[in-house]
Symmetry: C2
Subunit: 451 residues, 2 copies
C-alpha cells in the first residue's frame, strides 16, 4: 500500500484495549480503515477472573494476553503503549505522553476505576481493577497469614486472620468465597502455629441482598453457598467508619488487618477530556449510536458510557455490554466509510453469572436459573470459552482441574517484597475521601456503583 | 507430642530455602529433629529457568513453589518468612526482623547475589537472581521495543534495539539466546514501524571462550549456535566503561539502552554474620564436613560455601552441588543425633548443561557430550524432571510445546508500570562500584565469578 493510499484512509483511534476497545479493533481488522489502539498496558486483561489472581489461583499471565499478539495479523491496526491524558476535540487529537495522535473517528473505551479513594489512597487500598492491584491484594492476604503464624499477641493474631470484603456485587462475592476457600483448603495444612481454618471472612453489603443484578432467589442461593463456605454475610450493613485496624458497622466494630474494597467504581476521566455531560459515577451520556452529543465522530463505549437499557436503567458495566458496543461502533464506522446509514445500538442481554467459591455459581440466562454445582459448570465453560487465546484457555482449565483435585493453589507467591516487612506499618483506611470533588465519609454507598 | 518432648529435640535452623536449604529440610522431614526454615521469600525458586521469566517465556509461578506447600506434610518442620540480618554464634541465635531464633545446629544456605553493584545500583541494574529481578529485566526488554516503535529519532531507535549481555557463563548465554529468539520470532510480526528482527544482541565475554565450565569443543558449539540465532559474540572483550547509553570495549563503543549484567556473583553476607574466613567472592571456607572452622554446629552449604573439589578448584556454584551438600548435612545431623560418626562430604559431579536458544543446548556428562537439538532434548527432560511439583512440571512442559509450535510467548506482560514511562529517564550504568569495600572499575572480571 502506498503512502498516499494510507493517508486517504479514515483514521480511527481507539483508547483502551479492554473488552470494548478490543472488540472494536478486531472488527475493524483488515478493513480499509487506518486503526490505532492506545492502551496504558501492553496486554488485554480478562478482568472477570482477576479475583483468582488476587487469591492465588491463577497467574496474571493466565488471564492476560499481549495486545500486539492478539492483533498481529491485522496489518491496518497499530498498537501504541501510552497513557492518554486528554483529547483535543477541536483539533481531533488524542494527547498521550507528549504525543498528539490525530483521528477522524475516536472510540473511548477506558472503562472504570475504583472510586472512594483520593489518589493518595490508591497506593494503599487499591480496588481490584488491574494486575498490579491483584498482586498487591494477594500479597496482603498471604502476608496476613504469615504474620499471624509468628505473632505472639492473641488479639493481633485474630485481627490478622479477619478478612473484611466490602461490597456484595460479583467481585465482592467472588473475593469472599475465594478467600474462605484459600483459608479452609489450600492453606489448611501449611502452618504449624495457627490454623488457617480459624480465619473469618466477613462480606459486608449495604443493600438488603447480595448480587442485585440477579433475581432474589439466586441472591439467596449465593448467600447460602457463601455461608456453607464459612463466609459471614452481613446485609443492610453500611460501613460507617474504617481505619487500619478494622471497620465499623454502626455501633459494631470488626477488627481486621485486611479490608478489601469491592464497592463503588467510577468511570475513567473520559467525560472530563471531552467536556461532556456525565452522571455522578462519571459515565458519559451518549446518543443512541453511542456517539457523544454534538460530536458525531467521538464514541464512548463500555463502562465509561451511560446508556439506558430497555428497562430504563443504565446498562450494566459488564464485558457483554462493552463487547457488543465495541462491535457496534466498528460496524457503524465501516458503514459510514461506505456512506451508508446504520441503525441505533440495541443491547442483547445474554445473561448474568457469578462464582461463589470453588464449585458453586449462580447463572441467570432469561428463563434459565442455576445455582450450586450446575451453575459452576456453566460458569467454567463460559469463562474458558471467553478467555482470549488457546494457550490461556488450556492452562486455566488445567489449573482449575489441578486445584479442584488437589485443593492446592500453585500461584501463592508473595512478590515485590523481601522478608515480611511489607505490612508491618498497617495501612489505615481513609475516614473520608473525595469523589467528584465532594468529600464523602468512608461508607459503602450502593447508589455510587457503576453496575 | 508433648511440649517436653519437643523441647528435648535438637533444634536445627536452616537459613535459605534454595536448592541447598530445601534439600536439607526435605531430608530432615519426619525425623526426631525440630527443624525451622527461614527464608526472605515464601517460595522456592527454580533459578536455572529464571532467564525464561526475564525473556517472557514463563510466568514466575511456573518456576516457583510455596515453601509451606512443599513441606506441608513434614510436621517437624516450621517455616518462617523473614529476612535474616545476623547470627549470634555465642548464644546460638539467628537474628531475623527483631526475633531471635534459637538453634542447636545451624545450616546457612543463603546462596549468591550479584556483585559489582553497590546497593544504590541494585535498584537500577539488578542481576538475574530473584523473581523481581526477572520481572524488571522483562519490563526493560519489552519496553525497549515499545519505545523503539514510537521513537522518531533513528539513532535512538537503534540504541533501543541494541541489547548487550555482559558475561558468557550459563546465564549470559541463555539470556542472549533467548532475547535473540524473542526478537526474531515471537515479536517478529507484532510491530508496524520497527522490524524487531533488526534488533542486535551482543554477548560480551572477557575470557577467550564462552562457558568455561565445559570442554572447549562444546564452548565452540555454543558460540556457533548463538551466532546462528543472530547473537554477536565478542570474546576476549572486557567491558572498560559503561553508562546509560551503552558500553565501551577498549576503544570501541556499543550504543545500547538495555545492558544486562550476567557477570560476577558474590556470596551473601554469611561470612560477615559468622566472622568466618572467606574468599574474595565472600564464600565461607568450610571443613570437609561443611562445618565452619571452630563451629562444629554451624554449616555453610551451596553458593555461600567455598569447598575445593577433587581437581583442587572451588566446586561450581550450581544446584547439583547445593543439593548434595544439603542432603549431606541433613544426614550428618541425623547420624550425630544418634551419636554416630559420619564420613566427610564427597561431591559426585553429575554433569553440566546450558541452553542456547530455542532448540539447542550443550550437555557434558562425563564422556557424553551433546550439542544442538539432542542436547536440547536432554536439557528439556532434565529441567522438567527437576522442577518441583507436578503442576509446574506439566505447565512448563505445555508452555514449551506451545512456544515451540507457535513461536509465540504468552507471558509478555509488562507489569508494575502505567503507560510507557518506566524507561524514559535512561538508567546509567555505574562507572565504578564497590566490592568488599574496594572500588573497582565497571568491567567484567572473570576472576570474581563464583562459578
Amino acid at each position: 500500500m502506498s503512502q498516499a493510499a494510507a493517508e486517504a484512509r479514515r483514521r480511527v483511534v481507539i483508547v483502551g484495549a479492554g473488552f470494548g476497545g478490543l472488540s472494536a479493533a478486531k472488527r475493524l481488522a483488515k478493513t480499509p480503515l487506518d486503526v490505532t489502539v492506545v492502551d496504558q498496558h501492553n496486554y488485554h486483561l480478562f478482568q472477570p477472573l482477576l479475583y483468582q489472581v488476587a487469591t492465588a489461583s491463577l497467574s496474571a499471565a493466565d488471564i492476560a494476553s499481549p495486545i500486539r499478539g492478539i492483533l498481529r495479523n491485522a496489518d491496518n491496526v497499530k498498537v501504541i503503549l501510552a497513557t492518554v491524558s486528554g483529547v483535543d476535540v477541536a483539533r481531533r487529537e488524542v494527547l498521550a505522553e507528549g504525543r498528539r495522535i490525530t483521528f477522524d473517528d475516536l472510540i473511548i473505551a477506558t472503562g472504570a476505576e475504583h472510586a472512594y479513594f483520593g489518589n493518595e489512597w490508591a497506593e494503599f487500598l487499591p480496588g481490584l481493577k488491574t494486575v498490579d492491584d491483584a498482586t498487591y491484594i494477594r500479597r496482603r492476604i498471604l502476608l496476613a497469614f504469615e504474620h499471624a503464624e509468628t505473632e505472639p499477641d492473641a488479639d493481633e493474631r485474630r485481627r490478622l486472620l479477619n478478612f473484611v470484603v466490602v461490597g456484595g456485587g460479583p467481585t465482592g462475592v467472588e473475593m469472599a468465597g475465594s478467600i474462605a476457600d484459600l483459608a479452609n483448603r489450600a492453606l489448611a495444612s501449611n502452618f504449624r502455629v495457627i490454623d488457617p481454618r480459624t480465619a473469618r471472612v466477613i462480606l459486608v453489603e449495604a443493600a438488603p441482598r447480595l448480587l442485585t443484578l440477579f433475581d432474589p432467589p439466586l441472591s439467596e442461593a449465593a448467600r447460602r453457598s457463601l455461608e456453607q463456605l464459612g463466609v459471614e454475610v452481613r446485609l443492610r450493613a453500611g460501613v460507617t467508619g474504617c481505619d487500619g485496624g478494622g471497620v465499623s458497622i454502626g455501633a459494631e466494630r470488626i477488627e481486621a488487618r485486611t479490608v478489601i474494597w469491592a464497592a463503588g467504581v467510577k468511570a475513567t476521566p473520559a467525560a472530563e477530556w471531552l467536556g461532556a455531560e456525565h452522571d455522578r459515577a462519571g459515565r458519559v451520556k451518549v446518543e443512541p449510536d453511542l456517539s457523544v452529543p454534538r460530536h458525531p465522530n467521538v464514541f464512548v463505549i463500555g463502562d465509561a458510557a451511560l446508556m439506558l437499557g430497555a428497562n430504563g436503567k443504565p446498562m450494566p458495566g459488564d464485558a457483554g455490554v462493552a463487547k457488543q458496543q465495541g462491535k457496534y461502533v466498528a460496524k457503524l464506522l465501516i458503514a459510514r466509510d461506505k456512506s451508508k446509514t446504520f441503525p441505533p445500538f440495541r443491547y442483547r442481554h445474554l445473561g448474568s453469572i457469578a462464582a461463589v467459591g470453588r464449585k458453586s455459581a449462580i447463572v441467570q440466562i432469561h428463563w434459565l436459573k442455576l445455582s450450586g454445582l450446575p451453575g459452576w459448570l456453566v460458569w467454567s465453560v463460559a469463562h474458558i470459552y471467553y478467555l482470549i487465546g488457546f494457550r490461556n484457555r488450556a492452562i486455566v482449565a488445567m489449573n482449575w482441574v489441578w486445584n479442584y483435585l488437589t485443593l492446592q493453589r500453585g500461584t501463592r507467591l508473595i512478590t515485590g517484597v523481601t522478608g515480611s516487612r511489607d505490612m508491618t506499618g498497617c495501612v489505615p483506611l481513609p475516614a473520608a475521601v473525595k469523589v467528584d470533588g465532594a468529600v464523602l465519609p468512608c461508607a459503602a454507598d450502593p447508589d455510587a456503583r457503576a453496575q
